[in-house]
C-alpha cells in the first residue's frame, strides 16, 4: 500500500482543562481530497493548525509526506501550503507584491511564469496591481488561493475554503481546487462544515465531534451507513446524537 500523504496517530491537544483534540488517528491517501467535517468546536481548525506546525500537540505524532512534522517541519513546509478565511494578507500591499513576497518565501523559481499561470487560472489579471485591502471577499479568496497554490504544493491544507462566500464564488473555488488536484495529483485536506462542498469534491470524509473522530469514509459510504440522501442529513444525525448524549448525561 502507498505511504499516506498525511499520517496522524494519537493526536491530542489540551488547553488547560479543555481537550480540543482527544487522541485522534487518521491517514490521508496521496492524491485525494479529504474533508474534516464537524460543527463549531469539533476540533477541525485545531487539527489543521497542528498539521501545519502552527500549534504544538500535547501528545501524538504527525507525519506528512514521510517527514516527522514535529521534528523536521522545515523539511516539508516548502511542499505544503495553506489557506484560511481567518488569516489575511497585508492589505496595503498589492496582489502582485503579496504574491512576490510569498514566492520568495517558498523559493518559487519562475515567479513571472507562475504568476501568469495563476492569473490565468484564477482570473487575477484585473486585480493584480490593486491593494489587497480594496478587494471584495470573493476576490480576496481567489488571491488567498493563488498564494496557497504559488509553490504548487503536494499537500494543501484549507480551513473552510468557501466560508462567507456566495454560492457562485464558492462553486468557482471548489472547481479550482478540483482542477488543481486533478492536474497535479496533490493531496488536499480541508476543514469544513459545508456539506455541499464535501459531497461534491471530497473522496473521503473524517467526521469530528468534541475533539474525536466519530466516523470516516467516502461520502457514498457514509450516506449508505446512515441511510440518508445527503451529507447534511448525516451531519444532523451526528449532531443530534450529541444532543441525545448531553440529555442522557443531564438525566443521569
Amino acid at each position: 500500500m502507498e505511504q499516506p500523504a498525511i499520517d496522524v496517530q494519537g493526536l491530542v491537544k489540551r488547553f488547560g482543562d479543555l481537550t480540543a483534540v482527544d487522541g485522534i488517528s487518521f491517514t490521508v491517501q496521496p492524491g485525494t481530497i479529504t474533508a474534516l467535517l464537524g460543527g463549531n468546536g469539533a476540533g477541525k481548525t485545531t487539527t489543521i493548525s497542528m498539521l501545519l506546525g502552527l500549534l504544538l500537540p500535547t501528545a501524538g505524532s504527525i507525519t506528512v509526506l514521510g517527514v516527522n512534522l514535529l521534528r523536521e517541519r522545515f523539511r516539508v513546509l516548502p511542499r505544503m501550503n495553506f489557506s484560511s478565511p481567518y488569516v489575511d494578507l497585508p492589505g496595503r500591499l498589492t496582489v502582485r507584491q503579496n504574491l512576490r513576497v510569498y514566492a520568495m518565501l517558498y523559493a518559487v523559481r519562475d515567479f513571472a511564469g507562475r504568476l501568469a499561470a495563476l492569473s490565468d487560472e484564477l482570473d487575477l489579471a484585473p486585480l493584480i496591481d490593486r491593494p489587497y485591502r480594496e478587494l471584495s471577499a470573493g476576490q480576496k479568496t481567489r488571491v488567498a488561493l493563488a498564494k496557497a497554490l504559488l509553490n504548487e504544493p503536494d499537500v494543501l491544507l484549507m480551513d473552510e475554503p468557501t466560508a462567507s462566500l456566495d454560492p457562485d464564488i464558492a462553486d468557482d473555488v471548489r472547481q479550482m481546487l478540483r482542477a488543481y488536484q486533478a492536474r497535479t495529483g496533490a493531496t488536499i485536506l480541508l476543514a469544513s462544515h459545508n456539506m455541499t462542498e464535501v459531497e461534491r469534491i471530497c473522496h473521503d470524509v473524517i467526521i469530528m465531534r468534541e475533539g474525536r473522530i466519530v466516523d470516516q469514509g467516502s461520502p457514498q459510504a457514509l450516506l449508505q451507513r446512515y441511510g440518508r440522501k445527503t451529507m447534511e442529513d448525516v451531519f444532523l444525525d451526528i449532531a443530534r446524537q450529541r444532543r441525545a448524549d448531553a440529555q442522557r448525561e443531564v438525566g443521569a
Binding site: 488547553f15 485545531t46 502552527l54 481567518y86 488569516v87 489575511d88 500591499l93 518565501l105
Partner: protein, 268 residues
Amino acid sequence: MTALLQALMRIAAMVLRYVFLLRSSWTRLVELVYWPTVQMILWGFMTKFLEQHSSWIAQAGGVLISAVLLWDILYRSQLGVAVSFFEELYARNLGHLFVSPLRPQEMALSLLMVSLLRTLISFFGASILAIFFYHFSVFTLGFPLILFFLNLMVMGWSIGLMVCGLVMRFGLGAESLAWVAIFALAPFSGIYYPISTLPDFLQAFAAILPSSHVFEGMRAVIIEHTVRYDLLLNAVGLNLLYLVTGVLVFLLAFRAARVRGLLLNVGE
C-alpha cells in the same frame, strides 16, 4: 539552491514586504523623520538659549543636539523592530508566514534589517536638518559616531525583540510596551546630563545600560575631545548580553505561542 541562499532569500522577502509597506504609505515615511526633527528643533533652540547663559553648554556646542539625535537612534531601532512585527499582527498575516518555510530566527533577522533601514532614514533626515537649522553636524563626531550608532542600534533591537516576544505572549494588549519601554530607561541613560548627576543607587542601575556608556562616551568626545574606548567596550559587552536575551525571549515566546495556539489568534 543552497540552504543558506534560501534563508537569505526568505529574509530578503520579509525586508521587501516592509519596503513595499513603507512605499505604500507616505504617512509612515513622514513619521520616521517627523519626531526626531521636532525633538531636534526643540533641543536646538534650547541649546541656543543655554549657549548664552551656561558656560558648560557654551564649551560644548552641539552636545544636546547630538544627544537628541543619538537618543532617537535607540528609540527608532527599538520601534523599528516592534512596529514592523505589529504590522503582521494588524494584517492577521502571522499564520501565513509561519506555515511558510520562514523560520522564526529569519523573521527576527528581517525585523532587525528593517529596523536598520528605518533608523537610517530617520537619523539622516534629522541630522541633515540639524546642519540646515543650526549649522551643527553630528557627523563631526567622526568615527566614534559609527560606534555609538551601532551600540544604540543593537540595544534598541534587543529591547524591540523582547517587546515582540511579550506581544506574542500577551497579545496586542501589550502593544503599548513598544512606545514606553525605551522611555522608561531614558532617565538612567544620561542622555542630557552626566551619569554622576544620578544618586548612587541609580548610577549602579545606569551602569548596566549600554546607552549610559554611549552617552558618557559622546560627551567625552564633544567636551573632552577624547574617545573613551573603555566606555564603548562596556557598551559592546552589555549589548551582547542584551541581544542574546532579546533573541531568546523572541524564540521562547514563539514556541509558547505555538503551544498556546496564539499564532492564528493573536490579537487584543
